[in-house]
């Protein structure tokens, strides 16, 4: 039942590469991953940026690794996600514009 709902919604069907839907799916995936990293408390480990260990118990290597994951997901979230959303918007608007132009002669 749940599977059917998601299939109907069509959000997780594979989209054509670089189509508007593909860009939205990528934006969504990044947002979910960032949210998970944030909720897992990885933000605390970013202190490695100034040379301070994120957690004495975790040690330098693990702290650095977790910080790197968080920072990359954060940058993707604040830089890449808006770009993907804007690009999807442009593609959708462009398709509507083209469709409108294609149908114009028939309307006349």
């Amino acid at each position: 039942m749940i599977k059917l709902f998601w299939q109907r919604l069509g959000l997780f069907r594979q989209a054509e590469f670089l189509s508007a839907k593909d860009l939205l799916q990528r934006a969504g995936a990044i947002s979910v991953l960032f949210l998970l990293a944030h909720l897992a408390g990885l933000r605390e480990f970013t202190s490695v940026l100034n040379g301070t260990i994120g957690s004495v118990a975790a040690g330098w290597k693990l702290s650095g690794f977790l910080a790197l994951i968080y920072i990359l997901l954060y940058l993707a979230f604040v830089i890449l996600v808006p770009v993907l959303l804007l690009a999807a918007l442009f593609l959708t608007a462009g398709r509507h514009f083209l469709c409108k132009n294609d149908s114009s002669p028939r309307e006349q």
Partner: protein, 395 residues
Amino acid sequence: MKSRTARILAGLAALVIAAVIWLPCLHLVFTRSLSDFRQNQGLSPKARQLAARHLQLWTDPARREQELKKMRASNAEWDFMGRSYLVWSLANMALRDPASKPLYLRTMDQIIDETLRLEKQEGMYFFLMSYAKERHYLVQPAHSLFLDGEIALMLASRRVVEEKPEYKSLLTERVNAIVERFQKSPRMLLESYPDECWMFDHCVALDAIKMADYLDGSDHSALIRAWLAMAKQKLVHRDSGLLVSSFTTDGTPLAGPEGSSIWMVAHSLQLLDEDFARDQYQRARKELGEITLGFGYAHEWLESWKGEANIDSGPIIPGFEISAGSSGMAFIGASTFDDGKFLTSLAATLDFAGFPSRTRGRLKYCASNQVGDAALLYAATLGPLWQKVKTGGKP
């Protein structure tokens, strides 16, 4: 095939256009008005939130212990400097917000007393990096100007806000000892580490001496003038006109001008020689400060004197050469010299890449640490303390 290629090209074009639109706008999401960080009177929202977190650390020993442990794993100096910056901030806050003065004074006293106790109990090496023990100080008995200067400035700052008789003799002893060593030193250069002297520490120590003069009516103006004349003549990097950051006791530079040092040096100099201080700030701003796409940051090293990333600079981000240490300290310089444009852009970067974390009105920056946040608090509150001493109003 043709339609697939067209779709991919259209997708790529849309991505490029979107990036060209979004990247220059990104800073707008993080840019706040200057008054959010610093206000001419009273306390800014950021100052209140940062202070609330620091005050909590000093009422919660377990939490403080955890923070200090993390910092001491990298650098014992940070434990000490976090105390200094917090005391200096609280002194300014007490002058800005008289209603909260009792709380601020109580916290200042707690920090000063604990720092003096640790210095006495554990010795001066407790707050120094381990390499201090690897060689002998040239001048015996060993003293670190780093510790003496900052402790003296903590004591003086507290007394400027409100006199505390127990601290009068402690300040006098410490200042007299520094002055005596200045007078005995052939070049007026004192060690912070064995045969390693720091501009930062000299300027802070001279500020403490100046404040002791203000508080107790002594007069070391000739010493201060002589030291400044010597520094202008012997410790300035010729290409940039900036003061070098570290040198040996015979005045040989160890490192050129450094971002993590020069911004605080310019701030400290403001109490000693306003024109020279402003000149140093403007040169540092030109050589080390940057604003890219609305985000402010600072380099650690000059083009003409490159160095490695070190414990003070923090990791340097390649490409833009962004130093966390220098960028953090640049807040102090920009705030001191009312450089609103640079300060606003630095604050935008801080909210973008400093990973702020707010809990019940308390703010910390996860990419920073306790000393970094204390230095930011100082940048958000500085002014009244220097002003009171400079204008010569009665202590």
